[in-house]
C-alpha cells in the first residue's frame, strides 16, 4: 500500500493535476492483489498415446510433470478404459505464482473400439462445472477452488491426412464445454509443404463439421503494432504444429532444446522449425482470456442448462411440466364433469321411479 499512498500523495499535492483523484491506480492494486493470490489454470490434454503430449507439457512449462512414468505394454492397455489423471504443479516466476493443473487422459483412442472413450472425459468436465456451481451457490464463498477446465489441447496425429472420425466426434462433443485448441503433434515428421497442406485440410474439415475451436480475440485498436502483428501471426498459424523436447543438444555452438537426428537437429524454440513458441505465446498471453471465456461462455451455458433442469438430473425442462400439469388438470375437470353428469342422470332416474 505504501507505493499507492506515495503516488496518491504525490498526485494530490501536485498542483498541475488538480482534478486527479488517483483511481487510475486501481489496476496496480488489482495487480498486486492477484500476484499475491496467484493464478490458477487447468489445462486438459487429449490425444492418442504416443503423440508426445507429456513431452510437450514438460517442454511448455519447463518442468517434469511425470517423473516416474512407466509406459505400459499393449497387454496392460487392453483392459483399461479412459482414465483421468490430474497433476498439479505450482510454478513461480518473478514472484508470480501459477497453480497449474494438467489433466491427462491416458487410454483415449487406444482401444480397438473407441466408441465410449469420451464419455469419461465429458463427465469429468461436467463434474468440475457442477462442483463450481455448487460452491458458488453455497454459504461460504470465500475460498472457491476453480478446477474448471479452462483449455483443452487436442492432439492431432501428423501421420494421417487430416482429422480422423474419432477427432471430429470428440471435438464436436466438447466444443460447447471447453475451449478447444487443436495442436498437430510431432511436427518434425512433416516437411514444410506437407505441414501447410495438413493445416489447410484440418481447417477445412473443422469448418465442414461445424466445430467451434477457440478463436484468439482480435487485438484492441489501442494496442501497439507489435502486439497486433503478433496476434495476426498467431491467428494465421492455427492449428499449431509443435515439437516438444526437454533434452539439451549442442547445435551451432550453443545449447538448445531439441531432437538430434542423423540428418540434423530439430530445435524446439526455432520458429522456422515448428510452432512451439507460438503455442507458448498464445497460452501465456491469452491465459486470462481463456479463463474469461470459460467463465462467461462455457460455464454460463452449463449453469443455465443446469438450473433449467432444476434439482432433477433428468432432461425435462419446466415448460413441458407446465403443459403436463395443464393436461392433467383438464383431464380431472373432464372426469368431474362426467361424474356430475352421471349423478344427475341417477337422480333423474330416481325421481322418475319415485313418480311412478
Amino acid at each position: 500500500m505504501s507505493q499507492a499512498d506515495k503516488m496518491k500523495q504525490g498526485q494530490l499535492t501536485n498542483p498541475e493535476t488538480p482534478g486527479y483523484v488517483g483511481f487510475a491506480n486501481l489496476p496496480n492494486q488489482v495487480h498486486r492483489k492477484s500476484v499475491k493470490k496467484g493464478f490458477e489454470f487447468t489445462l486438459m490434454v487429449v490425444g492418442e498415446s504416443g503423440l508426445g503430449k507429456s513431452t510437450l507439457i514438460n517442454s511448455l512449462f519447463l518442468t517434469d510433470l511425470y517423473p516416474e512414468r512407466v509406459i505400459p505394454g499393449a497387454a496392460e492397455k487392453i483392459e483399461r478404459t479412459v482414465q483421468i489423471e490430474a497433476s498439479t504443479v505450482e510454478i513461480e516466476e518473478r514472484g508470480v505464482k501459477l497453480r497449474l493443473t494438467v489433466v491427462d487422459t491416458p487410454g483415449y483412442g487406444d482401444a480397438i473400439n473407441s466408441q465410449d472413450c469420451f464419455s469419461t472425459i465429458i463427465s469429468y468436465i461436467d463434474d468440475q462445472f457442477e462442483r463450481y456451481l455448487h460452491d458458488e451457490s453455497g454459504l461460504n464463498r470465500r475460498h472457491i477452488v476453480d478446477n474448471r477446465v479452462h483449455c483443452c489441447f487436442y492432439f492431432i496425429s501428423p501421420l494421417g491426412h487430416g482429422l480422423k472420425p474419432l477427432d471430429v466426434q470428440f471435438m464436436k462433443a466438447i466444443h460447447n464445454k471447453v475451449n478447444v485448441v487443436p495442436v498437430i503433434a510431432k511436427a518434425d515428421t512433416l516437411t514444410l509443404r506437407e505441414r501447410e497442406r495438413l493445416k489447410r485440410r484440418i481447417l477445412d474439415e473443422i469448418d465442414e463439421h461445424g466445430i467451434k475451436i477457440y478463436h484468439l480475440p482480435d487485438a484492441e485498436s489501442d494496442e501497439d503494432e507489435d502486439f497486433k502483428e503478433q496476434t495476426r501471426i498467431l491467428k494465421a498459424s492455427i492449428p499449431f504444429a509443435v515439437v516438444g523436447s526437454n533434452q539439451q543438444i549442442e547445435a551451432k555452438g550453443k545449447k538448445v532444446r531439441g531432437r538430434l537426428y542423423p540428418w540434423g537437429v530439430v530445435e524446439v524454440e526455432n520458429p522456422e522449425h515448428n510452432d512451439f513458441l507460438k503455442l507458448r505465446t498464445m497460452l501465456i498471453t491469452h491465459m486470462q482470456d481463456l479463463q474469461e471465456v470459460t467463465q462467461d461462455l462455457h460455464y454460463e451455458n452449463f449453469r443455465s442448462e443446469r438450473l433449467k433442469r432444476g434439482g432433477r438430473k433428468g432432461p425435462e425442462p419446466e415448460e413441458m411440466d407446465k403443459d403436463m400439469i395443464l393436461q392433467e388438470k383438464e383431464a380431472e375437470l373432464r372426469r368431474m364433469q362426467e361424474m356430475i353428469a352421471k349423478m344427475q342422470a341417477q337422480m333423474q332416474n330416481r325421481e322418475g321411479d319415485g313418480d311412478v
Binding site: L51, D188, T189, V265
Partner: protein
C-alpha cells in the same frame, strides 16, 4: 531369385546298367558349358575341363534325376516339365559319392532354369496393411522404383474414409535385366481408421483365404491349366505407427490372427519421427511384445532349413522390424541426386543406412528372400489351408467339363 545352389554334384558310383553312348555328350545339356549366372548376373568361371572328355567306359552316373527333383520344388511348378526330359538319358544312381572324371554339364541346369524363368516371368503379390497416412503407397513405390501404387493424397470431399475395410488390388508388370515380374499390390484402405475397429481384419482374412481357394480349385481340376495363375498373397507388410511407446491392441490382434495364413513382415512406418535411441528402444519393445504374444513374423524360426539359413535369418530377425522412410522425390545431396525428404533441418536420405533401414528392407525383401517368400506361401501356408479344406466335409469335388462326373479326393 533364391540362393538355390544345387547340392554338390558328387555322383554316386552307379550300377553299370547301361553304358551311355560313348563319346556322345549327355542329352539336352547345351555345350559348351555356360557360366552359372543365376538370377544375379555375373558369369562364374567355367568348370575346369572346358572340353568334354568322352566318358567312355566309365559309368557316368546320372544324379540328374536327383538334383532335378530337388530343384523342381523350388521353381514351383515350372521345372517338372522341363526336367523330365533331362533326367532321361542316364542310369540311376545309388550309394555314396565318387568324383567326376570329366565335366558333364549338370550344373548348367541353373542356366536353363534361368532362361526358362526369364521367358515365363514370375509373379509376386504383396499386401500392405496399416491405417491411412502411414506412407504405405509411397513405400511400395520406393521399393519397386515405379508408380505401382496410387497415393491417396488425402480424401477429397467426395471420397470419405470407407466404412469397412476395402480390398483394392492393382497389378503392374515391371521389367529389369530381361526378367519380367508381374507385381500385384493389394491395398487395404479403411483399416484401423474407424472409431470402432472391431473385426476390421476379417475382410483381409477372407481375401487371403479366397485366393487360396481359387488356387486350390484350379489345382484340383481334372484338366488343369499349364500354369495356374497365382494370386495368393506372398507377403503382407504390416505398418506399425511410430508412437515410440509400444504396439497397439489393434496391431497385436491383427498379427496374431493372420500370422498363420500369410507371411507378415512388420515395418515401422515414418521412422523419421524418432531419434536413433528412441528407435532402438521402440524396436526392442515391439519385438518383446511380438514374442510375448506368440506372433511369428517372417522369417519364421520353424522354417529355417539349415544352419546357414538359421544364422542369416537370425541376423535379420534381430534387426526387425525395419524402421523405414519412403520417398519418391529426389533431392541434391553432396552433388548426387538421392531419394529423400527435405526439411528445414536437413535432408533425410531414404537409401542411407545411417538414416533409416529402407535399404535393408529392400535387400531382404527383393534381393534375397523374394523366392523364399513365395515358397513358404506355397509349401506352408497354402498346404495348411489345403489340408484344412480337404479334411472338412469329406473333401473337394473337382470341377470338370462333365457336370455329372464327380470324384472324391
Amino acid at each position: 531369385m533364391s540362393d538355390v545352389v544345387p547340392p554338390e554334384v558328387r555322383p554316386k558310383p552307379a550300377v553299370p546298367a547301361k553304358p551311355p553312348n560313348v563319346g556322345a555328350p549327355s542329352p539336352s545339356s547345351p555345350f559348351p558349358p555356360q557360366g552359372l549366372g543365376f538370377g544375379g548376373g555375373g558369369v562364374s568361371a567355367p568348370p575346369p575341363s572346358a572340353i568334354p572328355v568322352p566318358i567312355g567306359s566309365h559309368p557316368s552316373s546320372h544324379v540328374g534325376s536327383h538334383i532335378v527333383g530337388h530343384v523342381a520344388g523350388h521353381a514351383g511348378g515350372h521345372a517338372p516339365a522341363h526336367s523330365a526330359g533331362h533326367g532321361h538319358g542316364g542310369s540311376h544312381s545309388s550309394g555314396g559319392g565318387s568324383t567326376l572324371l570329366g565335366y558333364i554339364g549338370i550344373d548348367t541346369i541353373i542356366e536353363q532354369m534361368r532362361k526358362k524363368t526369364m521367358k515365363t516371368g514370375f509373379d509376386f503379390n504383396i499386401m500392405v496393411v496399416g491405417h491411412s497416412g502411414l506412407g504405405k503407397s509411397t513405400l511400395v513405390n520406393t521399393l519397386f522404383k515405379s508408380q505401382v501404387s496410387r497415393k491417396t493424397a488425402g480424401w477429397t470431399r467426395d471420397e470419405k474414409i470407407p466404412k469397412t475395410v476395402e480390398i483394392k488390388s492393382v497389378s503392374h508388370v515391371i521389367e529389369e535385366g530381361g526378367v519380367k515380374m508381374k507385381l500385384t499390390v493389394v491395398d487395404t484402405p479403411g483399416f484401423g481408421d474407424q472409431i470402432n475397429n472391431d473385426n476390421c481384419w476379417e475382410p483381409i482374412s477372407k481375401y487371403i483365404n479366397e485366393q487360396f481357394e481359387k488356387f486350390l480349385k484350379e489345382e484340383v481340376n481334372i484338366t488343369r491349366k499349364k500354369r495356374i495363375p497365382d494370386t495368393r498373397v506372398h507377403c503382407c507388410l504390416y505398418f506399425i505407427p511410430p508412437t515410440g511407446h509400444c504396439l497397439r491392441q489393434l496391431d497385436t490382434e491383427f498379427m496374431r490372427r493372420l500370422s498363420h495364413s500369410v507371411n507378415i513382415i512388420p515395418v515401422i512406418a515414418k521412422a523419421d519421427t524418432m531419434t536413433m535411441e528412441e528407435r532402438q528402444e521402440f524396436k526392442q519393445r515391439v519385438r518383446k511384445e511380438l514374442e510375448a504374444n506368440g506372433i511369428e513374423f517372417y522369417p519364421q524360426k520353424e522354417f529355417d532349413d539349415d544352419m546357414e539359413d538359421k544364422s542369416d535369418n537370425d541376423k535379420i530377425r534381430e534387426a526387425m522390424p525395419f524402421a523405414v522412410v519412403g520417398s519418391d522425390k529426389e533431392h541434391q545431396v553432396n552433388g548426387k541426386r538421392v531419394l529423400g525428404r527435405k526439411t528445414p533441418w536437413g535432408i533425410i536420405e531414404v537409401e542411407n543406412p545411417n538414416h533409416c533401414e529402407f535399404a535393408q528392407l529392400r535387400d531382404f525383401l527383393i534381393r534375397s528372400h523374394l523366392q523364399d517368400l513365395k515358397e513358404v506361401t506355397h509349401n506352408i501356408h497354402y498346404e495348411t489351408y489345403r489340408a484344412k479344406r480337404l479334411n472338412e466335409n469329406g473333401g473337394l469335388h473337382p470341377i470338370s467339363s462333365n457336370d455329372t462326373q464327380e470324384s472324391n479326393l
